[in-house]
Amino acid sequence: MFTSLIDGFAMWRASSGHAELIAKLRIRMVFSGVCGTVVFSCISYRLVDVMIVSRYSAHDRLEHYTEHVERKADIVDRNGELLATSIVTASCYANPSVIIDIDEMVEKLSKIPGMPSAKKLRLKVSDKSKHFVWLSRHVPPQIQEQVMDLGIPGIHFQKDYKRIYIHNNLFSHVIGCSDVDGVGVCGLEKNFSKELATYVNLNKCLVTTLDIRLQAIVHEELSNAVSKFKASGGNAMLMSNTGEILAMVSLPDFNPNNLGDCSSSDMFNRNTLGTFEPGSVLKIINVAIALDSGAATLGSVFDATEPLKIGRFSVTDFRGKKRPLTLAEAFVFSSNIAAAKIEQRFGTNVQKAYMKRLGLLDKASIEIPEIGHPIVPRVWNESTAMTMSYGYGLAITPLMLITTVTSILNDGVRVTPTLVYGKRRILAEGERIVSSETSRDVRDLMRLTVCYGTGKKAAVEGIEIIGKTGTAYQAQGSGYGAECNRKRITTFIGGFPKDVPHVMLIVSLDNPKATEWTHGFATAGHNVAPTAKNIFKRTVPLLYSGHHDDPDDTSLKSLKYIKQR
């Protein structure tokens, strides 16, 4: 058509005497036509290629998928020891649309150990319209080689990253774990999910305040205690007086590398989630309130001869002295009767105000998502306040308890717990919650408890340990269960050295049993106190290489108020 048009035009122009011009014009038009045809052919070819031939290739889908499977930064302890990292692996996928013989593929692949069963494989590749389906994630190199040797069309491997936890159970509750795609499920992994993805591009890692040596010691000693005293579980934490968590162990624990084998109870972090009535360790708070508010002094006397009646209940002492006790004696020998009478001195409103100021009514703040709320009594009357004075009626987490006690002992200045190394440096200086004198008196009393009181079994020769024990019955339904069927929680909280407790420790055992070794007792002084001793004995030389003179307890101000040691 194009040529005939030109010919027609040429004939017309020839008749008018412009033959030469027409010839030139013809050449130009033919050249332009050819160029245009070539260009449009190329564009058409590319359109067909993009829209039909290469559409939804498995590769494109895989690239889209792998955007979400990113590397994550390492997590290390305060000394740079690796705790969690991502290592490169290979994951096996199939493109069912190009598999020629599904039966043959299923038969061959299912015979390789580590690959899915024949039934599962058939189910995965049954839909031929699919272009991408995972067959097995994080395949070991030996299995990868076996699969590749089969040479089955449509079976491929893709580079992948697997999150691994070097020390298995050791840091399970703190570091947490990730799912198969590397997404944080719990612990620091969940809380710092975005930061870990960012840090990896900056060649940074997440430095925690934890110390692998201390964590290993605490884990070992707590495991020994749980098995020795046949406890249902236990928890322990080491914290510095700057708020840095040095070790955090909760038992039972789990292996974050193998989440398939763990139950929800294994994943429960007792340190931050477990709320329970702490028992006599709360007398530290009671005495601190009494001294700080000026309601009592170390020498104030409280009659603990007879049980104290509160409505239809009566407050009694476990192996009590049955005589008037000074405040110092009441604390050291852990008298419930005297504790309730001390509370009566300062009253409910003062107690409530101090509890709020000490942070016992609000949930703790730390960089893991598993944090329990305290269970505060709805009706805070006189009888509730009295029971609270010796550790019942208020359920708190061990993290809250150690934070509050550390704050009191840290010269009365508030401490904020943290798991991130260096964070404490950017925190503003803590506010004062009790006076310096109160802090010193409480430290003295805790030292005397270890020397002469219920915490004797926590004493380590040559080390100035301070501490307080607490044994509480666990709430069961509306009460504490029948006398013969009561479950206990025993707790020890203490630190070292007395004057500036750089290291604080809390140890709890869930329902420890009386054994021959404890002479038939299941109280804190017989199970958690010796456990604390073992931990102190092993951790203090690691933390303090220098020499400390033997403690001189005769200079303690409160000692003169202890009549019978």
Binding site: L83, T85, A216, R538
Partner: protein, 115 residues
């Protein structure tokens, strides 16, 4: 007129060739950069695997087991094994403590084990 056309076409061809050359150089450099980035990534991945292996070798349980096996005569230092200069000067160290004898005994035991 014809000369101007020839010069323009020559310039156009020259510029075209330059652009083509630059393009291929860019493609080559981009490939080189990609290869380097790939190598860096590979080395980083390898380092991570070695670090993980090193971490496993440093596992406290493993180290403890090795210490118990090969250093059975040694134990962690305890507080009462350290004496301050002040205490030494005051003569506060127990006369019964035979540090020299204890050290020599330890050396003998170590030599016996090695032999």
């Amino acid at each position: 007129m014809n000369r101007a056309v020839v010069i323009s076409l020559s310039l156009l061809t020259a510029v075209g060739l330059c652009v083509l050359r630059i393009k291929y150089e860019v493609v080559f450099l981009r490939k080189k950069l990609h290869d380097i980035e790939h190598d860096i990534q590979k080395y980083q991945d390898d380092i991570r695997i070695y670090s993980a292996e090193w971490g496993c070798l440093n596992d406290p349980k493993r180290l403890k087991a090795l210490c118990e096996k090969y250093l059975s005569g040694m134990r962690p230092m305890e507080k009462n094994q350290i004496v301050s200069h002040k205490k030494l000067a005051e003569g506060g160290v127990s006369a019964n403590t035979d540090y020299r004898g204890a050290f020599e005994k330890f050396l003998d035991e170590s030599l016996d084990r090695k032999s």
